[in-house]
């Protein structure tokens, strides 16, 4: 189960992208998101794809890991493609069944939307692949700092996020252990008929949820016993230092976003 899930696991290959300031990476991802949302034509998609591939290669992480990161969302991509095919009525008629007509514009737009989705998911995986959860949190705290001016505690938000991220693998491990315990006593998920499988998965929910609450309680106690207090000043283990490279990194994304936006709205 864990082997298949890639969310929130960092892969250390020591590339220069790994060393980029997490705040720069977070800002860059936001710019990338803007760029991808603005992509609406084949040339723009092509540019975004080349840009993404270049950065993916620079991380030195095998490309198939990015493919695997996007894989769990294939149903959504197929759905997006289908919706475009059904609703768009531009371009030439490709196919006609009864009252429904498939237009070339629909297929084209559907393909663009699905690829956009794939690019977005696999590319943003760079963030978690190249940044350890601790650094990611620190980056998050840095990016959210301006919010404190309007009375939102950045520390509270990042703490919440770090715990959530931290617990994904733990809860997965825990459910796997229960699956194993059930298998050891004659109820192997792989060998059961579909109906039974569903019943077993539901029976898994209760102990896993109970376990998560128990863990949360233990965590609170252990943090409090070590003097953690929300809002209290804390020293950092790693100090984030903004370098010139980080500026260039963000700038490259800003140029991409600006370019895509300009192409979309000015041409």
């Amino acid at each position: 189960m864990r082997g298949k899930l890639l969310i929130g696991r960092s892969i250390d290959t020591g590339s220069w992208v790994h060393g980029v300031d997490p705040r720069a990476k977070l800002t860059a991802m936001l710019l990338y998101l803007i760029a991808i949302v603005a992509v609406g034509s084949w040339p723009a998609l092509g540019v975004a794809a080349v840009f993404s591939l270049a950065y993916m290669t620079a991380t030195k992480i095998p490309l198939n890991y990015y493919v695997r990161a996007a894989k769990p969302l294939w149903v959504l991509m197929v759905f997006i493609f289908a919706v475009q095919c059904f609703t768009v009525t531009e371009g030439t008629v490709l196919w006609q069944i009864g009252s429904w007509t498939l237009y070339s514009g629909g297929v084209s737009l559907g393909l663009i939307s699905a690829s956009r989705m794939a690019l977005l998911v696999s590319f943003t995986a760079i963030l978690t692949f190249t940044t350890t959860p601790g650094l990611l949190n620190q980056g998050m705290a840095g990016v959210l700092k301006p919010l404190e001016a309007i009375g939102i505690s950045a520390q509270r938000l990042t703490l919440m996020m770090s715990i959530a991220l931290r617990f994904i693998p733990t809860i997965l491990d825990e459910s796997q252990k229960i699956v194993k315990a059930q298998a050891a006593r004659g109820a192997d998920l792989r060998e059961l008929p579909w109906k039974e499988k569903g019943r077993m998965l539901v029976s898994l929910l209760v102990p896993v949820t109970v376990g998560a609450f128990r863990r949360a309680e233990e965590l609170v106690l252990s943090m409090e016993s070590r003097g953690f207090q929300i809002g209290a000043p804390r020293s950092e283990y790693h100090l984030l230092v903004w370098k010139r490279r980080d500026t260039w990194f963000v700038l490259s994304f800003a140029i991409l976003a600006a370019g895509v936006l300009a192409y979309r709205f000015l041409m």
């Binding site: 864990r2 082997g3 696991r9 892969i11 095998p62 890991y65 825990e174 252990k177 229960i178 194993k180 315990a181 059930q182 298998a183 050891a184 006593r185 004659g186 109820a187 192997d188 060998e191 029976s203 898994l204 209760v206 102990p207 109970v210 128990r214």
Partner: protein
């Protein structure tokens, strides 16, 4: 053979960047009807080894034979249901093994899966609980509200209720009080002697099992460092200690005394009673000098 390992290797997350090897070319033979202890430092692969016994883990290389089932690294795993009935596995942390909302349901889970009627399964649950010395009143309680020791006992009961031929336990005495530890070791020994079960126990407290175990497996870094009888273990103690294994004091003491009185060829006496008796005999045979020597020992 009850269990045979042929050059078995296992790696977690095999074929990915997070691959971590846990077993390396392990060779193992456990005869049916024996009581085997498995020891070794933490992280030496004991728990991973155990999960191969009932096919929960499939080796990434090599072949595992358990009873009449064969699990081969390269082939698709066969149906494990029958094997799982015959091989009961008690996990290291009982709270991760219990998942139902009452103790009774939890213990009945295995028997029901293997085709027992509900009434039979409930009978079994009561029987298994009584074996572990737990009161029937816990049957209707939530297993997660029990104490650590009680939880451990329920976890063991839930496996014994399936009446397996091979019982494998992962550090079963870890959270028990001294009295329960001794009782559990005695219970396992009874199951082994009177019902002919094959019992395999992973432990960090070798001394607890020494009176009962016929054979030992010592693991280090995913390999078997030693496999043999308890007597052989006593003879190899110096080597194993060198390799970082904590040798129980009774073995060290026996080896010291054996060297002093020339008893190396004998069957080691590892309980205080048997050692005292044996020493008394030796000293009586030596006559007058015995009194002084006895005090020293």
């Amino acid at each position: 053979m009850a269990i045979t390992f042929e050059e078995v290797s296992y790696a977690y997350d095999d074929g990915s960047l997070w691959r971590s090897g846990a077993l390396e070319r392990v060779e193992l033979e456990i005869r049916p009807g024996t009581f085997t202890g498995i020891a070794g430092t933490t992280g030496s692969g004991k728990s991973t080894l155990l999960q191969h016994f009932n096919g929960l883990l499939k080796p990434t290389a090599g072949r595992v034979r358990v009873l009449d089932a064969v699990v081969n690294a390269r082939e698709k795993a066969p149906k494990m249901r029958e094997l799982r009935r015959r091989v009961g596995l008690v996990f290291q942390f009982p709270e991760q093994q219990l998942f139902e909302d009452t103790v009774e349901k939890d213990i009945c889970f295995g028997p029901l899966n293997f085709g027992m009627s509900l009434a039979e399964a409930k009978e079994r649950a009561k029987w298994a609980l009584s074996l572990l010395g737990l009161d029937e009143s816990v049957l209707q309680r939530n297993p997660f509200h029990l104490s650590g020791g009680q939880m451990r006992k329920v976890a063991i009961a839930s496996v014994l209720a399936m009446d397996p031929d091979i019982i494998a336990l992962d550090e079963p005495t870890a959270t028990l009080d001294p009295q329960s530890r001794a009782e559990l070791a005695a219970l396992l020994s009874t199951l082994h002697r009177e019902q002919g079960k094959t019992v395999i126990v992973v432990t960090h407290r070798m001394e607890e099992l020494l009176p009962y175990a016929d054979g030992w497996v010592i693991m280090k870094n995913g390999r078997t460092l030693f496999q043999g009888t308890t007597d052989a273990l006593v003879r190899e103690a110096a080597f194993l200690e060198q390799e970082g294994l904590a040798i129980p004091e009774c073995i060290t003491l026996w080896n010291k005394l054996a060297a002093e009185y020339g008893l190396e060829a004998e069957k080691p006496c590892l309980t205080p009673e048997s050692l005292a008796d044996r020493l008394a005999e030796v000293l009586a045979a030596e006559g007058g000098a015995g009194e002084r020597e006895g005090r020293r020992a």
